[in-house]
Symmetry: C2
């Protein structure tokens, strides 16, 4: 595998744990690179999430479907961030979320086997798992706080603040769905 494709994830992992070059070489061999085309669905709600995806380039949308069959956009994963139904992945249970590519997207896939081997053989594998889970937790915790404390306009502005340029890359109806408002309401917000 072209090591350049792993350079960002390598840097991220090495910023969190100590790992020898030998450990890295043995373990990173298990990464898999996949490419998805715009609009392709990586994970269907109801399937087991078999990979954690790290976005090398492109953009993913996480969504779920409510009982009335309506889709709700829940999160957008930009370059150099992760995407998964992490609960489905960890528990090997049916996923609640779906994941769709909003652009042609290149991802690095981390499989169950790879995570298990990391726990078993990397000196600081458990620590890496802890930090991954903690960061997932921070992400969700912040989402909950924003639901309670921010208006749709503030949540719209937060999206742009944390991921500059993202609003130009996402179709408007997905942004409206993310904010839990109608497309008409979103247009009014943007014009105000």
């Amino acid at each position: 595998m072209n090591p350049e494709k792993l350079s960002v994830i390598r840097q991220l992992i090495f910023s969190h744990i100590q790992m020898s070059e030998e450990e890295w070489n043995n373990w990173s061999r298990m990464f898999e690179i996949k490419v998805f085309t715009k609009n392709e669905v990586l994970l269907k709600p109801g399937d087991i999430c078999k990979s954690i995806y790290f976005v090398n380039s492109g953009l993913l949308r996480l969504f779920f479907v409510d009982k009335d069959g309506e889709e709700h956009s829940f999160h957008f994963s930009m370059e150099n961030t992760f995407a998964a139904d992490y609960e489905s992945f960890l528990k090997k249970s049916a996923s609640d979320y779906g994941i769709q590519a909003l652009e042609n997207t290149q991802v690095i896939c981390i499989s169950h086997k790879m995570l298990d081997q990391g726990y078993a053989y990397l000196k600081e594998g458990q620590k890496l798992g802890r930090i991954l889970a903690e960061n997932y937790f921070f992400l969700f915790s912040n989402k909950i706080k924003s639901y309670y404390t921010e208006s749709p306009l503030e949540r719209y502005q937060s999206l742009e603040k944390f991921f500059p340029g993202i609003l130009q890359r996402i179709p408007q109806h997905y942004i409206a769905s993310y904010l839990n408002i109608s497309s008409v309401h979103l247009s009014r917000l943007k014009n105000a």
Copy 2:
């Protein structure tokens, strides 16, 4: 310390990781038992959360305050569950949540120092931290799913289903706040 007070948390920890009696004896010595009286505030929003609390008996309410000064009940921690602003605890940052005792409550406190020592000296300390973070993540993930997919009535029924008897122990206005509906709306739900 009376070992009986630690029996449930001990059992919980031993269900997740391997630990020798010697490790347990050295580490568990650092647990601290505290008692809070009904309505007492354990953590004020804005303070750093200095403990993870494990509820031995009683009931805690987690809440936060929005920019208009309005309190939102966010979670209720029953016997044998944890309570903390886990993000504030891990990052040593100002907490967004507050924690209040809704009944006279006995908690086991886990300090930063105790967690750090656990990571450093327990053979499976990092694994324990990973599992704790994963379970926090599952809790928050389920809350988000329920916001998107469940009606207030379904969320009311879920509370009772997951924590039988809890609805009788919480003042109505806190339940209404948890469901993000008015007290009048809650009365209508209960009568329907």
